[in-house]
Amino acid sequence: MNYQTDFDSILRWIGSLCRSYEVIAPKKETNGDIFYSVIESSDEVCLDFSGTPINTPKDFIYENYKTLLRWDLAGDKAVIEAPEEEPKKRIIFLRNCDIKAIRLLDGWFEKDIADEDYKKLRENLILVTIGCHTIGPFCFCSTFGVDPIEKENYTLQLIKTETGYILQAKDPGLTLPQRLEAVSYRPKELKTEILDLGCSNNIADFEQNAQIYDEITKRCQLCDGCTFLCPTCTCYDIADHGDETKGERVRLWDSCLFSSFTKMAKGYDPEPTFAHAWSRRLSCKLVMSDRSCIGCGRCDMTCPAGIGMKSILMLTQHKERK
């Protein structure tokens, strides 16, 4: 069903949701940047922005510095246990590309041996799509078949129009805003730039693409902005904080570009050069069967050297055409 509504009633609705759920939605910081944040009062919510917020939904479902376990080995008792937390019921308002990212994370954490904590968090999370009304400067999601306004696969979708907001609902299991007017609505055709993925089929081969890899490895500053801001990057490291008798083990985000990522004891490194590392990253994002780039453009937004995924795809396209 499609409904016409206005911003005030949406805010009142979010306010009422805040009473029974933890609501996560885009929020405008004082400097104008948009971040997904936990909403305390509904007037913080910002739905009128282009592109994606700076941070990603993985901040909330796959958090950095998560305590995995605590140990207390003093005396005879030897306790090693994981902290048990009852997951909160949460609603997250997010862009369609980020929803695709969450679906990819679902697949990743559920395959082989499932991550139980992730499963619990995910079962208590309701996704609400915020359809795009304009295209952001770095967006290229249509390349990967993501629509800025979702056509089918949503339970609730909010779209800004010239006259107010459209709310599309498919069995959401939530109470809806009070002032709603059923309307017929066809979303306007919105597409981002579509890049040719065919050019990047052999991008993981750094010997054949020496020129591109020279450019990338020369420019990359190893800041890891691209991996930390990638909504589908899931590599992590495990570190212990404490001493022999008492302490905790935490999970930290890691990056396949870090120099010690594959390093083994005695200093062996099966992936010895920077080009090996970049080849892994590009293969994971663009080539592998479950390739995980969704075209949100955050890596392009953050990269100080201008080598996000979009730039790299454009580079391969440019090379192909020459």
Partner: protein, 283 residues
Amino acid sequence: MNRQKIIPAVIKQIEHPGTYVKIFTLLPKEPVFFVPGQFLMVSVFPEGEAAFTPCSCIKEDGSFEIAVNLVGRLTSTLHRMKTGDTVGIRGGYGNGFSIKKAINSSGIVIIAGGIGMAPLRFFIQELLQYDKRPPLTIIYSANKASKFLFLQDFERWQQQENLDIFLAALEVDTQEWKGHIGRSTDMIEKLKKIDENASFFVCGPPPMFPHVLEKLKQFPVNEKNIFFTLERNMRCGIGKCGHCYMGDIRLCVDGPVLSVSDIKKYHLAVFRETEPFMSRYRK
């Protein structure tokens, strides 16, 4: 059974047979389950976790052994630990050696290099449980005679029928050395009656792999029946953390035991002459 849960395990006994190797007998507080070739994640607080392969079957009291080579930060802390100290274990993870495949083959050849004997000793122990098993050949090499592990086991195994043992040391630095002098590849040449249904299980340092494979190709072998145990730095053991990637596979769930045909299928860079050292920064 939750295989992700860390179980406290007490160090029951420590043997120190070689200069750099200690064998720890661990007694977990809850039962664990693993097959030969699978690995366990052993937590040494507060150094973190590392993957070790059990080198013995689970004994009646629930204890088992791991062989630990002194190579880095975690293993040096582990080497300093004493009987009665507690570590954490979880697992077993990964694909182990296929006992069914070995038993149904026409002959089993086990090729171990150095510390690589550890997982294969467990495998041999399991194979010897079977009354009807194909002929078993064990080739075990190390660069020094003093580095051989489990020699008392070999003396016992020598009594068994249908079992040949070739021990090869490159350098003899002990008085009582009774084995051959040379490399494992020299011993492979001595193999007899190898047909394409024979199965091979190799574990050792990666630079040994290309030479072993080259020698094995002299025989009419099937690449599907040659298994190598590969290694990578593993952090989570459950295929989520990404550290043990090799090409498109994750070694902790798709390995660590892989057949040569699988290694070729996934285009893995396994058969390299030398294992590269870290030189990644800005290169």
